[in-house]
Symmetry: C2
Amino acid sequence: MYDAEDTVFLLPGPVKMHPRVLRAMSAPALNHRGPEFKDLLTELRELVQYLFGTKGDVAILSGSGTAGLESAVSGLLHKPDKVLNLVNGKFSERFGELCGVFATPKPLLFEWGRAVDPQRVAAALEEDPSIKAVTVCWNETSTGLTNPIADIAKVVKKHDKLLLVDGITAVGGLENHMEEWGIDALVVGSQKCIAAPAGLAAVALSKRATESLHSETSFYTNLKAHVEGLAKQDTPFTPAVPLFLALREALRLLKEEGLENRVVRTRKLAEAARAAYEAMDVDLFPDARFASNTVTAVRYPPGIDDAKFRKILREQYHVILAGGQSQLKGKIFRIGHMGICSFPDLAAGFTGIEGTLAAMGHKFERGAGVAEVARRA
Amino acid sequence: MYDAEDTVFLLPGPVKMHPRVLRAMSAPALNHRGPEFKDLLTELRELVQYLFGTKGDVAILSGSGTAGLESAVSGLLHKPDKVLNLVNGKFSERFGELCGVFATPKPLLFEWGRAVDPQRVAAALEEDPSIKAVTVCWNETSTGLTNPIADIAKVVKKHDKLLLVDGITAVGGLENHMEEWGIDALVVGSQKCIAAPAGLAAVALSKRATESLHSETSFYTNLKAHVEGLAKQDTPFTPAVPLFLALREALRLLKEEGLENRVVRTRKLAEAARAAYEAMDVDLFPDARFASNTVTAVRYPPGIDDAKFRKILREQYHVILAGGQSQLKGKIFRIGHMGICSFPDLAAGFTGIEGTLAAMGHKFERGAGVAEVARRA
């Protein structure tokens, strides 16, 4: 029978957590205005800067990645500001909805599973010089696609617009040069490449972004208050203490491994996952040139029912992965291989995926997928 | 030496957590869209309704109590709506600041440490019929004072205004009849009377409040989305999974004890604390007729330095309590005796408080305070 505490956990976030992180989280109550917590915030600020590769201002919010995105949009834009939303999946679509509350969104749509085309972005910016900012979801978790962030940033920088980036499943897993590229606000979620529990968001800002922060339309997600608070080892509101303890431990683990090593390992796991699916005759969903290294999304082979597939996988193999969302529901399934995911984890997951697909009638050489993983480990 | 993991933890929130809560929180990653989490949300919704004493709609937000307050203000009011803020402490003041972002606040000020006077509320509402809503902090954690919520609610109801209540350190510790009183939105924080970790807020709504919810000025704290999500065992954004697990366990503990029993126990602890301070010749800060049963605030005896007092207490006795905030900094200190705080905890705390005050030169009969606690245990 299924045991929720003993699984091969391959969701594209939240992801598997290290026991050190779980132990750190379960500490007794701590005074969030006392010296221990100030020390924690000092260390955490440096670790978050390390994570983002910046010496600039950062913030940590007690809320999901969406709270982080909201803090950036509400802190940098005003309601009349026109913002170009580059949309090619569920999360970039939601980013646009968020902009509808705090700014004036103008969506630029791309097919789900296809990358944002920087040339179309350039054309849109040339056509409407009143646009003040651009939003993009760097890594579209919903389609398993990584947008060409460096090329997009180059276009946005050339037109001198603010660039707000959802890096929720990118930062800590993909190569990042936010300062060189000119990203103004970059947001990450705790439960993805960092492998901490869900419930925290971190934001890194460019110098010009920090200088233009305002507090007019936000309160709980007031980015200015969060940035200034953290700089003096404080939080504007009561922080989610256990999650801060867990985040510190997860970032310590990341630093022990080394950010560059983690990015390389994440890429190798992705290559193994893609090779495994190819060997199993399962098609990648997104444009292969832009396939994500943190999340792999594939199409269901003909005749494989989503709910039944994930039920067998879960109950018989204890493997947890995700289906598709919105327009992709029932059509694709997705695994995450970010954070502390290992080759053995991936092989364990593919053992279940192979067994379930075979039991449901998909024809392929049994063992071929897992062999591709093992070969690269 | 001080050991952060072995303390007598008497902050007025976050408060001491039961080991069952800590263990529940430290579970491995769980699929927040899977059947286990849906079961958790079903149980949690019922437990939160039990906590509030309502069968009406409730929401749980991944954020601090402030996020809960923001969800109520932004979901029920619009920017032009005039809202009367009853202010008699730091948290009611902050509630007013929050209203400044999402509505049009009109503060009605009372001295810190004095209760809100319902007659002055009535006069303010009669003077300005354009007021749409009233906010009040039921239990002012900053001054250790409980406002006369039933009398205030009666006035607000008579004038047919919306009543938004900060019940962050009240709900689960003070007698509550929100439906009978006519409270429209009542907010609680996870880390106070519930004795769960910090990081979650819950909101309970009257029927008319639920029906008038809108989504125009909020996104992350969109109360409508949170209420509707929870009713179908879902959350609009990724929830802080470990905190939800912890909240369930803490609410199970509360239900095992029984809400009424907990309220009675909280009152008895408060009576013991007040008697102890009296025996030690330490003066209560707030108007004694309105002294809180969840938080006790007292004035420093002449010559006792706040920072030094709390340092000795912390390092020598491992007792953690809070100083004053804003205009009360250095003038008062505060203990919480809500949640799972016990008579032995209180006696342990007073042992340190007595020892430290004596060492710093305050004259009183040693043992008299602790004896008052023990006598009532």
